[in-house]
Amino acid sequence: MCSVQDGEDVIPERKKTGKFTEGERRPCMKCGESAAVIIRVNDAFCRGCFLTYCTHKFRSAFGKSKLIRDGEKVLVAFSGGQSSTALLHLIQEGLSERAQKKLRFIPSFVFIDEGAVLNQTQEERSETCQQVAALLQQSGFPWNIISLEKIMQESNSLEKFELSEQFESLHVSEKDQEELKSLWNSVKTLSAKEEMIRTLRSRLLVSIATAGGYSKVLVGDTGTKLSIRLLSDVAQGRGMHLPFETGFADCRHPEMKIVRPVRDFTAKEVAMYNAFHNLQPLVLPALTTKAASNASIERLTETFVTGLQADFPSTVSTIFRTGEKLSVEDMDSEVDRCQFCQAPLDTNVPASSALNATLFSQSLSQKSSTSTIGGASNCDKTDSCCGEGDGSCQTQKDFRLTKEDLADVLCYGCRLVIKDMNSVDDLLPANVLQSAAAAVRRKKMKDEIQDFLLPS
């Protein structure tokens, strides 16, 4: 129970820094040996106890959730960074014979090469892939490397996903490469770019996993990263999606769950785990490598959270636990989803809402003569048909999506990303445009027949 009395000190605990003199090193709170790492304000652990604590935490994350069944095939997204490296090692340990309570799933690993959006040359990209391949090969698990360009392919899922044994070269078609490049260049701000790549990456992971017959994807997001995301998501209009973005399992996709088994670890714990095990994570550049602290919203939030964490070590866990209180009701498959990030639409709101107020003031400040509250556009209807009937359905044959049409079937956060782009025509991956067009048509049709439907 919460028992804060009036006048009681509720200021978060500040980090203590004492003067250190030899022989005074704090003992491990478990076994009394001299400690090697401080996890929270007063919790000091020795090396051995710390590593046991990590493995235990990792296993119990699976145990508690009961999400992954014995013998289930899972796909693990591997980026080569700190948390991926720790995740790979934890899985390896957990599956080994000497583990006390063995993990019982069957992992395969996939690395997504994002060199294209980092302006890397073909040589740099294949060097990166070689390094990753060497690491994955060493692990003894099946793996493959996929380029981000694959997201531009027409079909909604890849035809097939095969695991490989060795890395030869990155297969990138010129057409996909060009398309991704023009999409990327049309996004102006770094914040929107980061959002874009995150959505593209997770779409690609899901389609890889679908093609490979998996039903779970494991990712290595740490608690620190998720609390940063929590705050930056709120700042970027994704408040509705917090439970999906930061929960243990992201179940926005009907057939696929994205699981975050290391979310109970802080970035510090992960780095310490790697250091104690002598693991060498790869250092691959990201969009904000060497960028200023205010380069993007996410970067700025990171600076804020890590800065606060340095003085108040309970910052991350406070943000994190608060975020955990949010949850979503079980989604039925009927709910309308954002056609880009697949989260349920948060734009179906009453007339007097912040969203509609924003749209209204937007339409006022634009010169357009028509009122476009709700983002509906009046385009000239030409009589054409889907080809099925006698022309009476008035479906336009050559259906071109305008920015407004598209915004209608996107969630608020994705609308902001699209708004940042110069144009959307033909730039977004073909499968996104196709499903968006279908959704727009469905919506229009529904509006047209609305009056004839029986109220349910």
């Binding site: 980090k15 820094t17 004492g18 003067k19 250190f20 003199t21 090193r25 704090r26 400690a35 090697a36 790492v37 401080i38 000091a44 090396r47 700190q82 620190t224 990263k225 940063i228 970035a267 510090k268 992960v270 780095a271 310490m272 250091a275 104690f276 060498q280 994570p281 250092v283 550049p285 990201a286 969009l287 904000t288 490598t289 060497k290 960028a291 602290s293 996410e298 970067r299 990171e302 600076t303 890590t306 800065g307 964490q309 340095a310």
Partner: protein, 100 residues
């Protein structure tokens, strides 16, 4: 008397040091008092850092999000900035920040 210590930068911190991870350095004798981590940071900033010092040090301490290990132990156990360096100490800096 010179003090020889080994420094290691990882997790992306090495990008600011010409991508060189390991540095064996000998620190000149200090006239007033022993070498502490606080002095070491200033020395690194003046002698080793190749670019963007604000991404490594902030104020008189390391940028939040960069971990410091002294002889494989968390520096928070060792008195942080006030730790007195000894010969052959191994100081590791690990960046936990996104993108290094």
């Amino acid at each position: 008397m010179e003090l020889v210590v080994s420094l290691e930068f990882s997790g992306g911190a090495e990008l600011l040091f010409d991508k060189v991870k390991n540095h064996e350095v000998s620190l000149p004798a200090r006239a007033n008092g022993p070498w502490t981590i606080k002095h070491l940071l200033v020395w690194i900033k003046d002698n080793l850092l190749k670019e963007r010092p604000e991404l490594f040090v902030q104020g008189d301490t390391v940028r939040p999000g960069i971990l410091v290990l002294i002889n494989d132990a968390d520096w928070e156990l060792m008195g942080e900035l006030n730790y007195e360096l000894k010969s052959k100490d191994r100081i590791v800096f690990i960046s936990t920040l996104h993108g290094g």
